[in-house]
């Protein structure tokens, strides 16, 4: 029963049909997306008071490089326009009170949903990361430390774990910078392997918004910028979430 409703709900094809029409969906004007709406998206995304656990906080597993760069960016949140993004267990927490596009009915019969990049909750074993976002510059920096459960070649992070970290950083950036919601394209050129337990820094930049799409680039490198781990680009589709009506 549940599975059938999944199948019906899964099609996003209809959005492509919508895009071919001359109709501009409400709230998707690029100027608006790059105007004050970014501030309101950020305000909603970063609640001052919440009972939800924020996983993007330092713990004992963080390596010295990660800790010190985190502190550096935390300083920049005070005066330089950077915002530290909280990271909850599920995107359900991030979009509380908002509706997904019609046709995408979220399944709700399982209690323990986790956003993929928070799938492993043992500190230091899986994903350790924190994302800082700059609303004005439309850029993000993600500090990423892969643990031993993210292994690919022995001792190094799986290429797929970096791909997922990129997709997640693109995703949060796209949403806050212009209501980008769905990944359309991800293109990664891998250059060097990331040692498990070390810090990789993802620098994401929104390059342009055109035809309801956000185009972003990312360079992932060591803290000293001497080693480039990967370069990538991502394209996201804009889609405005609506307020849920009160029960």
């Amino acid at each position: 029963m549940m599975r059938r409703s999944f199948q019906v709900a899964a099609r996003l094809g209809h959005r492509r049909a919508l895009l071919r029409t001359p109709c501009i969906l409400p709230g998707l004007d690029p100027a608006a997306a790059f105007g004050s709406s970014t501030d309101s998206l950020v305000s909603r995304f970063c609640p001052v008071k919440t009972d939800l656990k924020d996983y993007a906080l330092p713990n004992a597993s963080w390596c010295p490089d990660m800790l010190s760069l985190y502190q550096e960016f935390l300083e920049k949140t005070k005066s330089d326009g950077w915002v530290k993004l909280p990271s909850f267990k599920s995107n359900r927490d991030h979009i509380q009170g908002l509706k997904l596009p019609s046709g995408l009915v979220a399944a709700s019969d399982k209690s323990d949903w986790r956003i993929f990049t928070r799938c492993i909750q043992v500190e230091g074993q899986g994903y350790e990361y924190v994302i800082f976002f700059h609303p004005f510059k439309k850029k993000s920096v993600c500090l990423f430390q892969p643990g031993p459960y993210l292994e690919g070649p022995p001792g190094f992070a799986h290429g797929g774990s970096l791909a997922a970290m990129m997709d997640e950083t693109f995703s949060k950036t796209a949403y806050l910078a212009g209501e980008g919601l769905f990944t359309l394209n991800l293109n990664i050129r891998f250059k060097n392997l990331i040692p498990v337990g070390s810090l990789a820094v993802l620098n994401v930049q929104v390059e342009k918004i055109e035809d309801q799409k956000l185009y972003m680039s990312c360079i992932t490198q060591s803290r000293d910028q001497e080693t480039v781990y990967a370069k990538s680009s991502g394209v996201f589709l804009q889609w405005q979430l609506e307020e849920e009506s009160s029960p």
Copy 2:
């Protein structure tokens, strides 16, 4: 101490320098890679007797679609040239007795290493998948069922979880079809979202081997092929692993 050795070991840049030389590394002749060596790679990869747990076996969480397609492919292993690949906890188990390229010294001070796509061991919560490989046709089919810990948009698999599944299927295919070892490029066009708990089928094909690179394509779709979830391509660098010398 460990971290420093990671940093020194992480550079793969030297392989690029090697590739620019006219020197052909032993065993990397494409004809050889596509000849009997594939059989020996498969034999080594699929040990008849092993104490290692194979995670690519049915369990109670598998949906009916996944179970029945698994049985279908299992039948094809008897007469149609398909091989069911075992899936161990770590790539360390898959390459037992082989050495990584010099400069890539595997860290070994942590006991619990897991290949990323086997990072969650609770049945049905994370990755459920099994890969079948056809040595002669140089193609693979991966049956993939994402669990609720792989969530992106509420109720659907994270784009990054599919990216990682593609990278892993490409990776095993590249290794067996022609000793492809390192992902150089991954390019994904997402079409539709995969509902959590449902089956997605990845069809991977080796397109060509040229200049020590394997070029592969992948189409991911529903079992009935009515819904295309994503199309992707991957490029892997060939690299021959050497036997470890006996202690």
